[in-house]
């Protein structure tokens, strides 16, 4: 049996969890899911269990911890450790989301087992044979994991390698109790700040107009904002741009920024470093505008314009406006 930790935020299940369930089913069809937190954490047990059942969870274990009013990583991990002990699962899997990686790393630390993050494929055995991401997926690493040390394999699934598919199963709820101390709740979300500005955020944007060093400076981004606005999208940028303070880090795309997959990614004055591509290579259509025809980004683009952004972009904006009127 494989346990899948279902990462949720006040009852909303992290969508990557459905990919993790699909991935886990391929290893062993006997998949159980785990939810931590009761109604005080915003969880509607029957709705959530039904959703997880849709994606193949035979059983949904729920730890309705009192005091778990919001996400508390160590408390969640403690509960998972209890469950591992009582269910005899051969693996504990989660999505490679910030919470998935965090909670599973805690479980691994508590139980002194290996933790393998960002897996592409897992073959349980002795040793376990795993392919995982390094450098945000720019390299694939094959590893052997000692089966004695990893008597329960603890691993997360690299995002978007498996498409979430439904496979309706019972999703039968069983509640369990776990000993969680006040110390385990010392680190817990106590507040949320900074209401959404109303604009389109990077992860949800259908169009991203992105600029790199080639935009020349903060003023260069004005035209990118205009084009983004005309297409109902938002602005992105490279790390060079955020490091120089031209744009806020929330707009950075890449390995250490946001990973995006919009319908259109318009890369302007961006060279296409592997760490930048790690964040945008899943875009449906990638267009690059660059003075250098040999820039790496040109090999990853669907369409290119070889030219100076200062000349090309105003023309593009004009053409959009003409086409609209």
């Amino acid at each position: 049996m494989i346990l899948v930790y279902a990462d949720h935020d006040r009852g909303v299940i992290e969508p990557l969890t459905f990919q993790a369930l699909t991935f886990a089913r391929d290893i062993d069809p006997d998949v159980h899911a785990v939810l931590i937190g009761g109604s005080s954490a915003g969880l509607n047990a029957s709705t959530a269990a039904a959703e997880l059942g849709e994606y193949g969870a035979q059983v949904v274990h729920i730890a309705g911890l009192s005091d778990y009013s919001d996400y508390a990583p160590l408390a969640a991990a403690r509960a998972l450790v209890t469950l591992l002990g009582s269910t005899g699962a051969q693996a504990l899997i989660a999505a490679s989301s910030p919470r998935g990686n965090e909670v599973l790393a805690h479980v691994a630390a508590i139980t002194d087992r290996p933790f393998v993050a960002d897996c592409y494929s897992i073959a349980i055995g002795a040793p376990h044979k795993i392919v995982r991401a390094r450098w945000a997926g720019n390299l694939h690493e094959e590893v052997d994991v000692d089966a004695e040390a990893a008597d329960v394999l603890i691993a997360t699934v690299f995002p978007h390698i498996t498409e979430a598919t439904t496979a309706p199963a019972a999703g039968a709820i069983t509640e369990f109790t776990a000993a969680v101390s006040q110390d385990d709740l010392a680190v817990q979300v106590i507040n949320r700040v900074g209401a959404s500005t109303g604009g389109v955020t990077l992860p949800e944007a259908k169009v991203i107009v992105s600029g790199g060093r080639g935009m020349g400076g903060p003023d260069g981004f004005g035209i990118l904002e205009s084009i983004a606005a005309a297409l109902g999208g938002t602005v992105g940028c490279t790390r060079v741009v955020t490091s120089a303070g031209w744009r806020p880090h929330s707009e950075q795309v890449g390995q250490t920024g946001t990973k995006v997959a919009p319908d259109l990614y318009l890369a302007c004055g961006i060279s296409g470093a592997t760490q930048h591509l790690a964040g945008c290579k899943n875009s449906k259509t990638l267009v690059a505008i660059n003075t250098d025809p040999d820039a790496t980004i040109m090999n990853h683009a669907d369409y290119i314009i070889v030219g100076d952004v200062n000349q090309v972009l105003p023309m593009v904006l004009q053409e959009i406006q003409d086409a609209k009127s």
């Binding site: 990583p73 160590l74 910030p98 990686n101 965090e102 790393a105 630390a109 290996p114 933790f115 993050a117 960002d118 390094r134 450098w135 720019n138 390299l139 694939h140 690493e141 094959e142 590893v143 052997d144 994991v145 000692d146 040390a149 010392a186 680190v187 979300v189 507040n191 949320r192 900074g194 955020t201 992860p203 169009v207 297409l231 955020t242 880090h249 929330s250 390995q255 250490t256 920024g257 259109l264 592997t274 760490q275 290579k281 259509t285 267009v287 790496t296 040109m298 090999n299 683009a301 669907d302 369409y303 290119i304 314009i305 030219g307 090309v312 023309m315 593009v316 004009q318 053409e319 086409a323």
Partner: protein, 251 residues
């Protein structure tokens, strides 16, 4: 305030990854090295905290002798001393790395109020070293931190979730792992570099635990050279691009 920062030397990879013939490592013969970006932010955060609260910064690194280069760079930015746990050159797995770092921090003469790390290393991306160190030292840990303020021995940490930020509070001593975007790291100044030459980089030898995760090979995934369509230049290119926008349904 006494702060420990764990930093790792990684290859400075540009547009392509070149592997060694045995496909066990990145061929670093023609490229430089750097720190993982998140760790640059961790050092910057430490320097800012010391500016306000006083105290000192100790860097810890597990790696080859060459990691001294990255340690000197961060000493030039404002760290006071460094401890290098030298390995034979091959990278060791996350579990072993964390055990070695925890031991080095624990046995150090300084009692650290705060241990700072990156949330994930640039190369390995294990997402675990900070959490394991926290458990080994019996301290609370907050990860993915993009906003940090410390007053009265209490750290207020912010973590980005979509467009909003979650707030966590934790009493020191604690372990905090941070993300790029926490701050904009400064560059070393010339006087900083001169001072750094005299700062101590101590070598520490610690027995490395048996690995539980063993690399058997590395592979560069095939990147689809999409054979881009050149839309032309100038006005003609701009017109063609707008046609593409219509075709793919974004206009």
């Amino acid at each position: 305030m006494e702060i420990a920062v764990c930093v790792k030397r990684v290859p400075l990879v540009g547009s392509t990854f070149m592997l060694t013939d045995d496909a066990m490592a990145i061929d670093t013969s023609r490229i430089g090295a750097t720190l993982s970006p998140h760790e640059e932010n961790a050092v910057e955060a430490a320097v800012r905290l010391i500016e306000v609260h006083g105290g000192s910064i100790t860097l810890f690194s597990v790696g080859s002798a060459q990691a001294e280069e990255q340690l000197r760079e961060q000493l030039a930015i404002g760290a006071d001393r460094a401890v290098l746990i030298e390995t034979e050159g091959t990278e060791i797995d996350s579990q072993a790395t964390a055990a070695v770092l925890a031991q080095a921090i624990d046995q150090d003469a300084t009692d650290f109020d705060l241990v700072l790390l990156g949330t994930e290393s640039a190369d390995s991306g294990g997402y675990q070293t900070g959490i394991r160190i926290a458990h080994a030292l019996g301290r609370p840990v907050v990860t993915n931190v993009k906003g940090l303020d410390i007053t009265d021995n209490k750290a207020t940490c912010e973590r980005a979730v979509g467009a909003i930020r979650e707030v966590y509070e934790v009493q020191l001593p604690a372990v905090i792992s941070v993300l790029d975007g926490l701050n904009i790291p400064r560059y070393p100044s010339v006087p900083g570099r001169i001072k750094a030459r005299k700062k101590p980089v101590d070598r520490l030898s610690i027995t490395i635990p048996e690995p539980t995760t063993i690399r058997t090979s590395l592979r560069v995934p095939q990147s689809a050279d999409k054979g881009a369509i050149n839309l032309g230049s100038g006005q003609q290119g701009a017109k063609a691009l707008v046609e593409v926008f219509k075709q793919i349904g974004v206009m």
